[in-house]
């Protein structure tokens, strides 16, 4: 159970929120002008990286507001939250968050020996 900081309400329990998948996937202004391939990619294709991920959340059992968050998917740490109309933070802001290339934490499991 992680804590998520709603930009409107403050820190709340994860159970109050719903995840909305990858952020910054903008609905095309003119879908009719898109090729089948491009439209198909908008509808069906999403990134699912290990490490830094820009994603959408909604405070569904609270203010019902959508917002964006930057989460390290390998540690579940939410590194930044920002409103929908705010600028996407630069990836370089989180350079120091990743202790290993894939984002796998150095610390984080009792089973260290097997991981070597």
């Amino acid at each position: 159970m992680i804590l998520i900081k709603c930009p409107y309400c403050g820190e709340r329990d994860q159970s109050e929120f719903s995840n909305g998948g990858e952020a910054h996937v903008i609905r095309p202004k003119n879908p009719g002008s898109l090729s089948d391939k491009d439209w198909g990619e908008y509808v069906f294709y999403r990134n699912n990286p290990k490490g830094i991920f820009y994603e959408r959340w909604v405070h569904s059992h609270g203010c019902k507001k959508w917002f964006n968050a930057v989460r390290n998917t390998s540690t579940d740490q939410i590194l930044r939250v920002y409103k929908v109309n705010e600028k996407r933070p630069d990836l370089s802001d989180f350079k120091n968050t990743l202790k290993s290339p894939s984002g796998e934490p150095l610390v984080g499991s009792g089973n260290f020996a097997v991981k070597k």
Binding site: W39, V43, N111
Partner: protein
């Protein structure tokens, strides 16, 4: 060989009675089940999991692997640890996993057959043939290998409590109390959590410590507790066990509100504490581990520190003359305790070399003339359901001793369970021969023996240093010891066996009956990774999670693999730390409180009129109304359907979702959300509309009422309402924030009645004499607002049955009154109430679809032949672009058609397949070509034969063709004709009459 009582301040001298396996025993108020049984010289308390071997009490705490019992007087609660469960007068307990009785257990034959029960036995033996697992193996295994019986008619009351604190201290022993002392009268909000009903930990469980700051341990505990209680910022929770350490310092702890008391059925038995904290201090100490030797599971073998805890904490000396077997310096404490009580151990066996053994131990043994074996070990023990003879190996010589108890100490493990749950890293410490916390992942501090510090003299410095991040004063601890300050241990995990027999076993996991031989076998078979080995042998997978043995198994395995223990690593520690009952997790969310029930304003009327209810989402909806006691559902639905088409019927449609859409850009928004075009629609008219996903598939449908370009009311399906509102809100916030639109759920603001049938107009005129219901004044798909008594109502001309119909919207407060008024007016027209099943039948006769029945998330409006609903001239709406994707515009997609049986007596069943074969082959060798499925199938009382709606590949082009529908339990298929899916009134004459 018998137990004696010791004076102890934690046990009241009040005698009570408990019942164990049908016999009554005397106990003291304050006893645990285990201490009470030991007091009565009961050593055999259970049978083991797999081999049904006799087992006794091994420990004195949460780590107990053997002494699990069933509490008859507490809803039959199974698998209760006798070593922590406190007794009360009249408590009734039984032993587990034995038949017919504990002493004569039939399943013990498993022990003789044990060579076939070795590692991986379940995986190797119970493999096929198909169906055998479910019908034969599993029930058999569950009956013979297992724990207690599940409770019956169980209804526990537990509550949940939430905390937000700055600091949580887990463990109220010496370290925890000293840490808490630092926070007295500070700004920090602190929660001190202790599993026992008394604070003090090692101070009350042993005589390791003589004095602290010049006070006896008991005086120091009392003084400290009082200081803490007087400090407003610290709260103490006793009888509370922290079971879980989650991410972001979230802890879960279980409090037993009735420890040592008979449960009061009117009060909450358990409290589950959900704690969010900034910092966690883990000071829950250590757990003693055992040593594996031949028959190390016999009743009478007990951990040395547990034996000592029974003396100090529970005032019972389980045996006056036990044999002590140790590989470390800590057992001096037990030796001194026994001597001070005038008891004399039968022998003291220390695996350490004589030179390495503390002088004080040697002096006591010499003075008291206790047989002393250094550089020696216990080879094994024998006896019938109890320890009788003990074999000591010293070099090449063996000594045979008679004793009924054997106290074992294999060293101490820091209790790292919670620390590793928090994702902290642990590291192997050669000095204590155990894993200890290394790098924390969260804001976690470990203190005292949890951190691997076994040196009491260094505790004070450790606490002051590690807690220096807090603004607190220094604490001082001047500790005077009864045991050597320096911990000394010699590596010893398993002793050598003299000879082999099937009866004698050297156990590594007492709970799951895993022997050291099983570990060897698993490694031989290639399971050399610790996580694989654990699952293959089930080592440390019991409810005790191998608390006294898992490190031993790592050590034994690393020796076999010729690796360092740190290379082998530990298995993953997962919550909970100790089993916690589902009742505690569920809290108040049980039975009727599990999921709220939503009832309409007419619910009481439905009850009075024999409605049978159906759950639609959280709603209770009348499914059908029983006209008489013996009427079946089929009869009721046939009757309701026929009556409605002849006269009139009314349905409580209050559960339909209703969303109000308002604002400057409401029209543009609705045009984007729904497939239909709303621009040219006149105010005060309504339209059947559909909502798609971006993939072009139907998500929901409903009727849209247009009040003006700035104001719409949309209805949704009963269960789809929250999702539709959430989707609308999402698009408004994320994609079209420039649109000025406000959404509001008004589902519960209106009771809704759907009245339809040929006599409807007459009934409506009688209920609302001032309203003109003529076709010209009130045409199909229009709506109007009216004043009605002291409220306002909205009436819409619409129908889901295909008959003339109206929908009435009224505030719920007046709903029931109007409903009853309609019935009194409708009586002369034979108005009937009908339920959802009749609604489904009638709409199927008319060829109307139901979301989730005809559609399943892969159906477009084109598949349903609903092209007329698509606003083709609209530039954009959700899902429009997808309707022209190659896959969505395929000709051979499954499309909606109607089915008629060629033999009118045949019944078309819902869910059956449509095929080309008139009969299924006896033996199916090749896949049978599948054309589609029946999505709705009913017997139509108005046509007097079966009808069906079906989704068939390329169905639109198959009208008039003949196919076959499969039937339950038959190889002969039903011949059907593909027809237009509208069976009644295709010209809509009734609808618009």
């Amino acid at each position: 060989m018998s137990a004696i009582n010791n004076n102890c301040e934690y046990i009241s001298k009040k005698q009570i009675k408990i019942i164990f396996d049908g016999k009554t025993y005397e106990a003291y108020d304050g006893d645990t089940i285990a201490s009470a049984l030991l007091r009565n010289n009961i050593r055999l308390v259970g049978r083991s999991f797999k081999y049904h071997r006799p087992r006794g009490i091994y420990t004195c705490g949460i780590e107990e692997p053997n002494a699990l019992v069933q509490i008859i007087s507490e809803h039959n609660e199974p698998n209760t640890r006798a070593t922590i469960k406190r007794v009360y007068d009249g408590m009734e307990i039984t032993s587990q996993n034995r038949w017919p009785s504990l002493r004569y257990d039939f399943g013990a034959i498993n022990n003789i057959l044990s060579p076939i029960f070795s590692a991986g036995f379940y995986y190797k033996t119970f493999m096929g043939p198909k169906g055998f697992w479910k019908n034969l193996y599993e029930p058999l295994i569950r009956r013979s290998a297992g724990l207690g019986k599940p409770p019956k008619n169980f209804r526990s009351k537990s509550t949940h409590q939430y905390h937000n604190t700055d600091v949580v201290i887990i463990g109220g022993g010496l370290s925890g109390l000293a840490a808490a002392k630092k926070f007295i009268n500070t700004k920090y909000k602190v929660l001190l959590i202790e599993q026992d009903s008394y604070l003090g930990g090692v101070l009350k469980n042993s005589n390791k410590i003589k004095t602290i700051n010049g006070l006896t341990p008991q005086e120091w505990i009392s003084e400290t507790e009082e200081l803490i209680l007087n400090s407003k910022n610290i709260n103490i929770l006793k009888n509370t066990l922290v079971t879980t350490y989650n991410f972001t310092n979230h802890l879960i702890a279980l409090e037993d509100k009735f420890a040592g008391k008979k449960i009061d059925l009117n009060k909450s038995e358990l409290t589950l504490h959900k704690i969010r904290t900034s910092n966690t201090i883990i000071a829950n100490g250590h757990i003693e581990r055992f040593i594996s030797f031949r028959n190390n599971d016999l009743p009478g073998v007990m951990l040395a520190s547990s034996f000592e805890k029974y003396i100090h904490r529970y005032g019972v000396v389980p045996e006056k003359e036990p044999v002590i077997f140790t590989n470390n310096s800590s057992s001096l404490s037990l030796l001194k305790t026994l001597i001070s009580l005038g008891c004399k151990p039968k022998a003291y066996v220390d695996s350490r070399k004589k030179d390495n053994i503390e002088t004080e131990i040697k002096k006591i043994l010499k003075d008291k003339e206790i047989p002393f074996f250094s550089d020696a070990e216990i080879e094994g023990c024998d006896g019938n359901k109890k320890v009788e003879t003990i074999f000591i190996r010293q070099g090449k010589s063996f000594t045979k001793l008679k004793s009924s108890m054997l106290c074992v100490s294999g060293g101490y493990n820091p209790d790292i369970h919670l620390f590793t749950q928090s994702k902290g890293l642990v590291k192997w410490d050669k000095n204590i021969l155990s894993f200890k916390p290394d790098t924390p992942f969260q804001k976690t501090i470990t203190l005292g023996s949890t951190s691997g510090n076994y040196n009491f003299k260094k505790l004070c410095d450790e606490i002051n240093e590690k807690l220096s991040i807090f603004k607190t004063k220094k604490v001082s601890l001047d500790i005077n010891l009864n045991v050597p300050n320096k911990f000394s241990i010699k590596e010893l995990w398993e002793t050598k066996k003299k000879n082999n027999s099937n009866w004698s076993k050297s156990f590594i996991d007492l709970h799951n009956d895993v022997t050291t031989k099983d570990l060897k076998q698993a490694i031989t078979e290639g399971f050399d990774r610790i996580e694989h080995l654990k699952r293959y042998t089930t080592n440390s997978m019991g409810t005790d999670q191998g608390k006294i043995s898992s490190i031993n198994s790592l050590a034994i395995v690393s020796k076999m693999l010729k690796k360092e223990i740190s290379e082998v690593g530990t298995t993953t520690y997962r919550p909970p730390y100790a089993p916690l009952s589902f009742a505690a997790i569920a809290g108040r969310s049980t039975y009727e409180f599990y999921d709220p029930e939503r009832k309409t304003s007419i619910h009481s009327w439905h009850l009075k009129n024999n409605a049978v209810f159906e759950d639609v989402g959280q709603w209770k909806r009348p499914w059908y109304f029983k006209a008489s006691e013996n009427e079946t559902m089929h009869q009721a639905v046939q009757r309701e359907s026929k009556m409605l088409r002849e006269n009139a019927g009314i349905l409580d449609g209050s559960t339909l979702g209703k969303i109000e859409i308002k604002g400057r850009d409401a029209l543009e928004f609705m045009n984007l959300m729904y497939t239909n075009a709303f621009s040219k629609m006149k105010p005060m008219t309504s339209r059947y509309a559909m909502m798609l996903g971006e993939d072009g598939m139907i998500k929901d449908d409903g009727i849209i009422c247009k009040i003006s370009d700035q104001h719409f009311i949309a209805t949704t399906t009963s269960s789809g309402a929250p999702k539709v509102l959430a989707d609308m809100e999402e698009y408004l916030q994320t994609e079209w924030p420039h649109l000025q639109v406000y959404l509001n759920s008004i589902t519960e603001q209106f009771s809704t009645f759907n009245i339809s049938g040929p006599k409807t107009r007459e009934i409506m005129m009688k209920v609302f004499p001032n309203i003109d219901f003529s076709n010209d004044a009130f045409p199909f798909m229009t709506f109007k607002n009216f004043d009605y008594k002291e409220t306002k109502i909205r009436i819409m001309r619409a129908s889901f049955t295909g008959e003339l119909g109206y929908e009435i919207y009224i505030p719920p407060k007046f709903g029931l009154e109007l409903w009853e008024e309609i019935f009194s007016c409708g009586k002369e027209y034979n108005l009937i109430p009908y339920g959802t099943e009749t609604m489904h039948l009638l709409r199927a006769e008319k060829g109307y679809i139901v979301i989730g029945q005809e559609t399943d998330g892969t159906v477009t409006p084109i598949d349903l032949n609903y092209n007329w609903m698509i606003g083709k001239n609209k530039k954009d709406f959700i899902g429009k672009r997808s309707l022209s994707r190659p896959d969505t515009s395929r000709e051979d997609r499954k499309q909606l058609v109607g089915l008629l049986p060629i033999n009118k007596k045949d019944i078309i069943e819902e869910g059956q397949h449509i095929v080309e074969l008139n009969e299924l082959p006896k033996k199916i060798t090749n896949p049978i070509k599948y054309l589609g499925h029946v999505s709705s199938g009913y017997h139509s009382p108005n046509l007097n034969h079966s009808i069906g709606l079906a989704m068939i590949r390329g169905g639109k082009n198959l009208l008039g063709q003949k196919f076959f529908v499969t039937a339950t339990g038959k190889t002969k298929n039903i011949p059907v004709e593909i027809v237009n899916p509208v069976f009644i009134d295709p010209e809509n004459k009734r609808l618009t009459s």
